[in-house]
């Protein structure tokens, strides 16, 4: 952060300007309507945001992770679901294809993903496989040269509007016999026959993002659908999560920053007992603590992006999400009764922040991961 390159700075500024002009004015309505305006994602695609992690030869930007998280933070400052959508797309579709896709798979998908013509999503969780992600039961049976997939995926963000779903499914025989080593990652075009989108979830926050259940009813896939090794899907998912958690951490910093700014502005204007709230020492202490934690979270995310590792990603996600939850809760408190009302922007941020403590691995799981990494090799 302290040594942001001019390019990182320009990318951040573009994201902030877009957020300020194209996202901020509409967030209250989008929250109410459970949807972004249809023009938002195409506009981001036009500017190149879908290709942040895709290489230049595929029409992407080839950004390093520090540049990427800076852009996501600023977009999240505008509307957190926009950052979520880009984070999932980049971490699970783009970066996994880049890392494990064959040349043919890369040539088929990376261009359309980078240009935003195809949105990527992840189908990992199942009714019985949440934190215990290796417990997936969706089956991918070999049939001839290809696969037939069946099962139920839960909480698929953008499962309806995405063009490509990265689906984790069992490949071991008998199913479950090889545990985490019996799972493959598949590139499933959502137009496939049998990819059926079910009910939409009614989420607490992040309402403009559509979260759905996906039924996979004997989806027939060619051999080109399998990503990398048929038994390494779980490892790939964890690698995707290392990138994904950086995105969620950046999103959390953006949410926290937005809440801090609203609180600072409100405390600078609102008067009680004949003086501005900001002149009360109790208020000053609260605002200072909020600001210091946001600074710390941003610095941690920047460090994790600059020196990526499983532990760094988990630490960034853990700390930034708890910062977002704490700071948004304090912001609601600063606003007092108004903070609890839909007419003011902070209660939405508090609802949005809560998701960052849960998805892409609950914070309890992040602590387990960090502790495990502390003893790695011991």
């Amino acid at each position: 952060m302290t040594h942001a390159t001019e390019e990182q700075q320009q990318v951040r500024e573009l994201a902030r300007e877009f957020a300020e002009r194209e996202l901020r004015p509409h967030v209250e309505r989008w929250d109410r309507e459970w949807a972004l305006d249809a023009s938002v994602l195409p506009a981001l695609a036009e500017l190149g945001f879908f290709g942040m992690l895709a290489p230049e030869e595929y029409g992407g930007m080839g950004f390093d992770l520090p540049t990427y998280v800076g852009a996501l933070e600023e977009l999240a400052w505008g509307e957190p679901t926009v950052a979520l959508t880009l984070s999932i797309h980049s971490a699970f579709a783009v970066s996994l294809l880049l890392r494990h896709g064959s040349v043919e798979q890369q040539q088929r998908w990376l261009g359309p993903l980078a240009r935003g013509e195809v949105l990527g999503c992840l189908a990992l969780s199942e009714p019985g496989a949440g934190s215990d992600a290796a417990a997936v039961q969706t089956l991918a049976r070999r049939e001839g040269p290809g696969w037939v997939m069946s099962g139920t995926k839960k909480w698929v963000t953008n499962g309806r509007i995405a063009g490509l779903a990265v689906v984790l499914a069992r490949t071991d025989e008998p199913p479950g016999s090889r545990g985490a080593k019996g799972i493959g990652a598949f590139l499933v075009p959502t137009e496939s026959v049998g990819y059926d989108v079910g009910e939409r979830e009614h989420t607490m926050g992040l309402r403009p993002a559509e979260v759905v259940t996906v039924q996979l009813r004997d989806v027939r896939l060619g051999p080109e659908a399998l990503l990398g090794d048929a038994s390494a899907g779980f490892v790939y998912a964890m690698q995707g999560l290392d990138v994904g958690r950086l995105g969620i951490a950046a999103q959390a910093v953006g949410i926290a920053q937005a809440a801090l700014e609203h609180a600072v502005a409100y405390a600078g204007e609102r008067e009680q007992f004949g003086q501005k709230l900001r002149t009360f020492e109790g208020m000053q202490f609260k605002l200072a603590d909020m600001a210091a934690r946001v600074d710390a979270a941003r610095a941690l995310v920047a460090w994790a992006a600059a020196t990526p590792s499983t532990r760094a990603s988990s630490a960034a996600k853990l700390f930034a999400s708890e910062t977002a939850m704490w700071v948004t809760t304090q912001a609601v408190q600063v606003f007092g009764g108004y903070g609890y009302m839909r007419d003011y922007p902070v209660e939405k941020l508090m609802r949005d922040a809560k998701a960052t403590e849960i998805y892409e691995g609950t914070n309890e799981i992040q602590r387990v991961i960090i502790a495990r990494e502390l003893y790695r090799g011991a």
């Binding site: 573009l14 877009f18 190149g48 930007m61």
Partner: protein
Amino acid sequence: MKIVTCIKRVPDTEARLKIAAGRDIDAAGLKFIISPYDEFAVEAALQLREAKGGGEVIVVSVGEAAAAEQLRAALALGADRAVLLEAPPTLDGLVTARALAAELKDANADLYLFGMKAADDDQQQVGPMVAELLGLPCVTVVAELELGDGKILCHREVEGGIEVVEAPLPAVVTITKGKYEPRYPSLKGIMAAKKKPLEEKEAAAGPSRVRLLDLSHPPERPPGKVVGQGADAVPELLRLLREEAKAL
């Protein structure tokens, strides 16, 4: 089609300016931008180039070394190359105009675009002065441009109407708010800007004959006055508007 657009680095128009002891703007922590009218001019140049299906857009700035940042921003928007003529800041428009004219006299551009004025000093001098020095026709305060065969049609917003004037190319045009709402730079544009040529050289600037003596904020507005409430207050309000504010 070759279009030169001249831009100026100015403090962000949304920034709260502080005046430093030395009676100039305190630049510490201040964000700088392309002067908004100049940004319209850059957008106009890009749109003309796109309409023509090709050509070159060159951005030029007279200013301190830091103005390279604004030139690179213009390159990120889509300009092809940039020239920075380094010179200390001046309020003498003719010094800036001469520096530009010395650079542009052999540019052989079809069109020279300027913002109608700089957002910081508001002087509206440089565009017309460059036209004079280059011996070119000049149309000012133009909201929309149309290219004709060897000529340019300019839509000017004049008091209570729109005037359309024509000038032969090459010409100098100063742009105001109108058709040319600036685009966002794309991420590709930002990446590409690093590889585009940005030439930096000493400006042929003479001594400045206009000096800043003092800079101060306008006096604080007197607080509003509550005349009364309801219909009873209307006669008194009208009296004050007429006699005190002289607004009626």
